[in-house]
Amino acid sequence: MNDMSRLAGSAIDVETPKILARNVNVFYGDTHAIRDVNVDIANNTVTAFIGPSGCGKSTFLRCLNRMNDTIDSCRVTGSMRLDGEDIYDKRVDPVQLRAKVGMVFQKPNPFPKSIFDNVAYGPKIHGLARSKSDLEEIVERALRRGALWDEVKDRLHAPGTGLSGGQQQRLCIARAVATEPEVLLMDEPCSALDPIATAQVEELIDELRRNFSVVIVTHSMQQAARVSQNTAFFHLGQLVEFGETGQIFTNPEDPRTESYITGRIG
């Protein structure tokens, strides 16, 4: 299998983890959505969360930048540290946290603005650009990292909503990258895209690994195998198995992981 041979060669940085989650529990009202999850997100790696629908992988992802704060009934316990700092500490402003932990969503959601303004949005609100030419540089760099520059450089002031689905998603990735986050969360970024656009985004994710830690939620096991170095398998709100992607896909320890990967549960 081609995918399998590729992941055998991908190297893993063994450093102090970027994000350290310990005994994380999440409740929606009375529903216990996540139970005692422990995950380490390493620097400059792609970590994939896989698991059947409703297993809590997206919920957990959204805990990493406190997007769940916008849901009233949601409660998070346990410890979650970004570079050793508890992100659920009262002194941490979720707005600042999200500037460090960027997010890309399932459906491309470009703002109803021009392509340029879409990418410039984050740098502007965080004051990253000192001048107009500085901002233009940031936008160009972000669009290049998003592998979109060549396609849109002549129409930067056309509306972002006029791009194709795959281009829109790459625009959203460029937009997230433009604020220079340290971690990039991706919630099923390819589920609304066709195979060609998916391949482009996957290639992009592999590129992004050089500068960021990437966490990606995916329903496609092939995708997890292709792009990630570490994989976490969630089932019914629990983290069943977490390890190197090669290990998980070729030699899983837990029988549930094996069943899911071979298609028996899910």
Binding site: M67, T70, V95, F105, N109, P112, G122, I125, A176
Partner: protein, 492 residues
């Protein structure tokens, strides 16, 4: 045949048709419903529709046309010299109608026999006294020509009504027989009923549209009459509004239009920021509990009759403003800029309060329609709530909000009661918001109330004003709908 009998017979025919259609359909399929093209009830309804729709249509048409035709014929019977000086044929005709209904009533109460009613001659009998017995008071003694016309009117009405009964029943029976004979198991009764339902819906929709057309046409005719009496250059380009009944009125719309636009502008200046901020709070910040009571509470404001707002303007806001800006050294500010409670500011502020729920409710709907994914996208980039609202939500909702504001503006321009009570009655060009001014709507009210003569330009000007107002608000509404529609296309 009395009218209610006709209706009862039609209902009975319809019911019988339903049963007959159903039964015949079932019989044609040997009692097996699955052999039928449609469910048995559809066959029944198909017969009911073909029985009643042509019959009732003919009935309505007949009821509308018969009086017109008969009056036309009877009024030809009346000699010209009967019509007194300064009166019209219509007045004499109403005498005829009155006498005819009087005779009907006398016959019904057995004061007169039908024979007597038809042959009675006013020269020989005291018809006025006889009719007085049954409670029909006639203004003067009945003249023979009028009596003869009334008798002709009665005869024509009676024969017309009889003919109507035959025609309507005939149509009903033809429809019944035809549709029952057509009923068989291969007949597509369900499709026929569906077509009838569609026709009903189309009829309802066209009534709404035709009414608008009717309003416009009636205004157009009266406006044409006005412009044949008064120069249109004075109406559109003159600068003075000074109606009098000496025949040399200056009737220009411009001072009124100025008052209307000025008051509407102040109203929007009050309503748009407050309404918009309220909408943003409700849709973006308020929790579920707050929203669930604050939104209905705000919308209650929209249900208050505008006359109540008018009272509020006259009794509360006006005196309060006078207290601030008037009364010289006794006032709060110690200035004497405002003489009375009625002013542009009074009417504008109160109208603005009236429009707040309008703006906030529409804007709230539009802001809530902005996809959550856009907010998530902005939050995910580390934007705060107000940054997200200012830079993502509002720009996305802007076309819809502009549409809402234009709709509010067209309400402000057409608003009457608040300005009648709060704005005053002086037509003039002035920039001072503390002065009284007047609007198009209040002038329409004042030109049409009281003793009016529908042949003078001073009265007819109301229609020209009304038509201008109609065109103005129609234009605003079309613009608003256009903008709102363009916005809708964005997220589908």
């Amino acid at each position: 045949m009395p009218f209610h009998w006709l209706i009862l017979i039609l209902i009975a025919l319809g019911a019988a048709g339903y049963l007959a259609g159903r039964k015949r359909a079932l019989a044609s399929a040997d009692g097996d419903v699955r052999q039928l093209h449609s469910l048995p009830a559809y066959y029944g309804w198909n017969v009911v529709i073909s029985t009643l729709v042509p019959a009732l249509g003919a009935l309505v048409l007949w009821l509308v046309l018969q009086p017109l035709l008969i009056e036309n014929r009877v009024s030809n019977l009346l000699p010209q010299e009967l019509i007194p000086e300064g009166s019209s044929a219509g007045l004499v005709m109403s005498d005829v109608r009155r006498l005819a209904t009087g005779l009907d009533k006398a016959v019904a109460e057995n004061v007169l026999t039908a024979q007597q009613a038809n042959s009675m001659r006013p020269e020989l009998s005291d018809i006025r006294a006889r009719l007085g017995e049954v409670g029909v008071a006639l203004g003067s003694d009945v003249r023979p020509e009028v009596m003869r016309a009334a008798q002709a009117y009665r005869r024509a009405t009676a024969s017309g009504t009889r003919l109507m009964g035959f025609c309507v029943l005939g149509l009903a029976i033809i429809g019944l027989v035809l549709s029952v004979s057509r009923t068989s198991r291969d007949f597509w009764a369900r499709n026929a009923v569906e077509r009838a339902v569609m026709a009903l819906l189309i009829a309802a929709a066209s009534i709404a549209i035709l009414t608008t057309l009717g309003i416009v046409l009636s205004m157009l005719f009266e406006t044409r009459n006005f412009f044949s009496l008064h120069s249109w250059t004075d109406f559109f380009f003159g600068t003075t509004w000074a109606p009098n009944f000496r025949g040399d009125s200056e009737l220009s719309i411009l001072p009124l239009l100025w008052g209307t636009l000025y008051i509407s502008f102040i109203a929007l200046a009050v309503a748009v920021p407050i309404g918009l901020f309220a909408a943003i709070y409700l849709s973006e910040y308020a929790g579920k509990a707050t929203r669930s009571f604050a939104k209905p509470l705000l919308e209650i404001l929209a249900g208050i009759p505008t006359i109540v707002y008018g009272l509020f303007a006259l009794l509360t806001v006006g005196p309060m403003l006078v207290n601030f800006f008037g009364r010289g050294s006794d006032g709060v500010l110690g200035v004497d800029w405002m003489a009375g409670a009625t002013s542009v500011l009074t009417a504008g502020v109160v109208m603005g309060i009236m429009l707040i729920p309008f703006v906030s409710s529409l804007s709230d709907d539009i802001i809530s329609a902005v996809p959550q994914s856009l907010r998530d996208g902005s939050f995910g980039l580390g934007a705060t709530r107000s940054e997200t609202i200012r830079q993502v939500v509002l720009p996305a909702a802007l076309p819809g909000i502009v549409g809402a504001i234009l709709l509010a503006a067209s309400r402000a321009i057409g608003e009457t009661m608040i300005v009648v009570m709060g704005a005053g009655a002086i037509a003039k060009f002035s920039l001072n918001p503390l002065e009284s001014m007047t609007t198009i709507t209040t002038r329409i009210v004042s030109q049409l109330t009281g003793d009016t003569d529908f042949a003078s330009p001073e009265t007819l000007v109301a229609f020209a004003l009304g038509l201008t107002l109609f065109v103005l608000t129609l234009g605003l509404n079309i613009l608003a709908l256009y903008i709102v529609r363009r916005y809708r296309e964005q997220y589908e």
